[in-house]
């Protein structure tokens, strides 16, 4: 059982790290602000979500696990809002594609 | 090298950097920023002392930690006051310079 949980942690955290990599590379390499934003939101939602998923089996108690999920939900809601506001700023800032 | 040494060296560099920014940057807002940087270096120094004093089952000596928490709050209050002064200066004179011989557009309403 412990092994299964550990494998789940390794897989999910690795996948999360991959999405952070993808988000960062996209942020650096994509040509304009809106595509960069597209890359960023993947890191936000999936990257952190998968890291949280991976840490759930390692959580000491049910309460810690609940709080972990809460952290992810908070970032999800906030990230969605902030991305919209950034997109608005980007439309003003640069040429509209 | 221990955790305390690594972050101790970091604290020293951050304090030095903050001091440099405080002296050389002419903009008052940047001075406030640099002062906060300097403060963070000093706070970290306390954190290092706390870390080295880990004993009795605690991760660190709680007394320096409590001092740092108090310090951070006071630093926040001082920053708020400094920014309010700066904005008022800008409102009253139309510029945000600290030079004594700076021309002022009006002298209206300066407290």
């Amino acid at each position: 059982m412990k092994l299964v949980l550990d494998i789940m942690t390794v897989v999910a955290v690795s996948a999360g790290a991959f999405f952070f990599l993808a988000g960062t590379v996209g942020l650096l390499r994509f040509p304009d602000a809106l595509t960069r934003l597209h890359a960023l939101t993947k890191a936000d939602n999936l990257g952190l979500g998968l890291v949280v998923l991976g840490l759930l089996p390692q959580a000491g108690s049910l309460r810690d696990g609940f709080k972990l999920v809460c952290v992810w939900l908070l970032v999800l809601i906030a990230g969605a809002t902030v991305s919209q506001l950034i997109a608005y700023a980007a439309r003003r800032d640069g040429p509209v594609p | 090298m221990t955790t305390a040494t690594v972050f101790g060296l970091f604290a020293a560099v951050a304090a030095g950097l903050g001091l440099y920014g405080l002296i050389t940057n002419p903009q008052p807002l940047r001075k406030v920023l640099a002062f906060n940087l300097l403060g963070s270096g000093v706070f970290l120094f306390f954190g290092v002392v706390a870390r080295r004093g880990a004993a009795a089952g605690f991760g660190g000596d709680p007394i320096p930690q409590a001092l740092v928490i108090t310090g951070m709050v006071v630093a926040f209050a001082a920053t708020a006051l400094a920014l309010a002064l700066l904005l008022r200066l800008f409102q009253a004179t139309g510029s945000a310079t600290l030079r004594a011989d700076a021309p002022t557009s009006t002298d209206a309403g300066g407290p």
Binding site: - | A11, A12, L17, A56, I63, A77
Partner: protein, 315 residues
């Protein structure tokens, strides 16, 4: 341990590069953005130093509230930026400043390397006397019992800072409302977030205070979260900043220090000393003080970020 050490060095290098950016950046708004990132990463450093209480304070006040306040100021001061930036001191002054900074940093490095060994510590003393308050968190013990005088005066300092900020208002706005009125689209995303987030934030803020008896947390950290939620609702334009002459507002501002002072005087009256808690009631008294302070701190911090009154009370 070598993996951990490598990680610490990498962390220090990343945070330090942000610090360099904060000092060197040309654009002030970008420099302030860097400072917020710096505060955020500093939270990781404090965690690594085994000080979660301080990490919480840094996250709440050091990076969040200070950052928002600096961002607002830099957006307003932008018009003056170019003129003042031209006053950059000459090469000699900068060279001397660099020299001074290097000397100060070197002195600090030396004092880090030659700190006394074994390190002096008051941790055993704090552990020994923890039973007197029955609180499990040593930092809360120090803040609320062993050095309660400092904490009380700190509240007074924050309140005095607020009086100082308010006193900068022009005469005609005295007692009015701080900051410009934020007009926002009531159906926009920001208004949506400002309706969704504060209930969660209020629960988290009170939770952070509640666990501070035994786990990292405290009235300041909780109060800062509440203040941030209040400011978020204001930024979204869902509520207006309060009139600073309001009676209930003034009462809220005073509640924390007054309760603290009353408990302190009670200790004096019962014969022990100022701020001496009767042992049997230490924990309930401390929690009562902390709850009163939570409200006061939330309102004080929020108003400090909002700034001096800028509109007449009617508008």
């Amino acid at each position: 341990m070598t993996v951990g050490l490598a990680l610490e060095i990498a962390l220090a290098a990343v945070v330090l590069s942000v610090a360099v950016w904060t000092v060197a950046a040309r654009d002030t708004f970008a420099a302030v953005g860097g400072f917020v990132a710096y505060g955020l990463l500093l939270t990781l450093v404090w965690m690594r130093l085994g000080a979660p209480d301080v990490a919480l304070t840094e996250a709440a006040i050091g990076s969040g509230l200070t950052g928002a306040m600096l961002l607002a100021a830099s957006a307003r001061l932008r018009a003056s930026e170019a003129a003042v930036a031209a006053e950059r001191p000459g090469g000699i002054v900068r060279g001397l400043a660099a020299l001074l900074s290097v000397v100060v940093a070197a002195a600090l490095v030396a004092s880090v390397l030659f700190l006394p060994d074994p390190a002096p510590t008051l941790a055993p003393a704090a552990a020994e006397n923890a039973a007197a308050t029955t609180l499990g968190n040593p930092v809360t013990n120090v803040l609320m019992a062993f050095r309660a005088m400092d904490t009380m005066l700190e509240k007074v300092v924050v309140l005095l800072a607020l009086v100082g900020v308010w006193s900068l208002a022009p005469d005609r706005f005295w007692g009015g409302r701080p900051g410009p009125r934020h007009e926002a689209d009531p159906n926009g995303v920001l208004a949506f977030l400002a309706r969704l987030l504060p209930p969660v934030g209020i629960v988290v803020g009170i939770y952070i205070l509640w666990v501070s008896a035994d786990l990292p947390g405290g009235a300041f950290q909780g109060g800062a979260i509440l203040a941030a939620m209040w400011l978020l609702v204001m930024m979204a334009g869902l509520t207006d900043a309060p009139q600073v002459s309001g009676r209930s507002l003034r009462l809220l501002l005073l509640a924390g220090p007054v309760v603290f002072l009353l408990v302190g005087l009670g200790g004096l009256a019962l014969g022990e000393a100022f701020l001496a808690y009767p042992v049997a009631y230490a924990k309930p008294l401390i929690l009562a003080i902390e709850f009163a302070m939570l409200l006061t701190i939330a309102v004080t911090l929020g108003l400090l970020v909002a700034g001096p009154p800028e509109r007449e009370s009617g508008s």
